[in-house]
Symmetry: C2
Subunit: 138 residues, 2 copies
DNA sequence: ACGCTATTTGCAACATTGTTGCACATATAG
DNA sequence: CTATATGTGCAACAATGTTGCAAATAGCGT
C-alpha cells in the first residue's frame, strides 16, 4: 500500500498550508516558530485564522509542541519522535529572538509541597546565542 | 529621621494605587497576580494603563518580579529581599489558576551549547494545588 | 498652610495575539 | 466524477499591553 501523500500518515487532509507548515517544521527540527513568523514565512498568503487552526491541528496530532516564550508569545516546534513524552528546556536568544529546543536535555524534577501534583513543565532559558555572541557588527 | 510614609524608602511618590498594590504584594508574599487580577482586586477603580505603569514602576524598583504564565499572561509577585538575585521556579494550578513562587528552591543549571550565554531563566511548573486536589466538590 | 512643579493619572487610540461563527471552497472516498 | 465531510477566509470579537497628551496631584520649599 502506497501513501497517496508524503504526510498522509498524519491522518488529516493535506492542504497547501498544512503541507507547507509540515515541510517547514520537518526542515527545521528544534526551531520554534510563532504564528506571526509562520505567517511571514508563508508569504502572508493565508488567513491568520487558518494558520492558528493549522497549528492547533498539528498540536492535536502531536506533530509539534508548544513553547511559552517571553512576553507571552507562543511558539511551536517539531516533536522529536523518540522523546515526544519527555519535556525538554528551550533557549531563546534575547538579540535575534530565535527559540531552540535543547533536546539533548531533560527538565529536572523539583520537589513540590505536599498535596501538589505536577502535570507539565515549561522551562525557558534566555540569553545570547552563538551567532549573536560572535557577531561583532552588532 | 522618621519616614513620612511607610513605603517612602522605595523612592517614588506614593499614590493610592501604588499604596494599594504595595500593600497587596506585601500581604501576599509568594503569590503572583496578573494585571487583570490586580484590577479586579482594586475594584476596577483605576485605569488599566495606570495599573500597567505601576507594575512597571514596581518592577524597576526591584520590588516585584515577573512570571511568564501559560497562554502568555504575565504575573507579578513580591521579591524575597534575601534572594532577589536568585531565580526560583513557579507553580501554577491548572484548576484555580493561582500562581505561587517556590521560593525555597532554585532553578538548576542546564548546560548550553558552546558559545551560548544565559541571562535569565523562567520555569513554570503546572499541575494541581493542594486546595484543588482535596476539593471533592469539583 | 499653601503654592509650585515635576511626576502621575486617565482617556483615547492603537498594536498584537488569539478565538469563534458562518458561508463558501475543496480534498478525497467511493 | 460526484458527494460530502472537512477546511478556509472573512468579519467580528476578546484580552493583553503600549503610547501620547492634557489634566490632576504628591510632596517639596516657603
Amino acid at each position: 500500500m502506497k501513501n497517496k501523500h508524503p504526510h498522509a500518515e498524519l491522518g488529516m487532509r493535506i492542504t497547501p498550508l498544512r503541507d507547507g507548515l509540515i515541510e517547514l517544521f520537518l526542515n527545521n527540527p528544534g526551531i520554534a516558530f510563532s504564528e506571526s513568523e509562520l505567517n511571514d514565512i508563508t508569504g502572508k498568503s493565508f488567513d491568520r485564522t487558518t494558520v492558528y487552526r493549522t497549528i492547533r491541528t498539528l498540536l492535536n496530532k502531536v506533530f509539534i509542541h508548544k513553547i511559552v516564550c517571553e512576553e507571552g508569545v507562543l511558539r511551536y516546534a517539531l516533536n522529536d519522535k523518540i522523546n515526544v513524552l519527555r519535556n525538554h528546556p528551550h533557549f531563546q536568544c534575547t538579540i535575534c529572538g530565535q527559540v531552540k529546543c535543547l533536546q539533548d536535555q531533560y527538565i529536572k524534577d523539583y520537589p513540590l509541597p505536599k498535596g501538589y501534583e505536577v502535570m507539565n513543565v515549561n522551562l525557558l532559558i534566555r540569553g545570547v546565542c552563538i551567532h549573536c555572541n560572535s557577531d561583532t557588527s552588532r
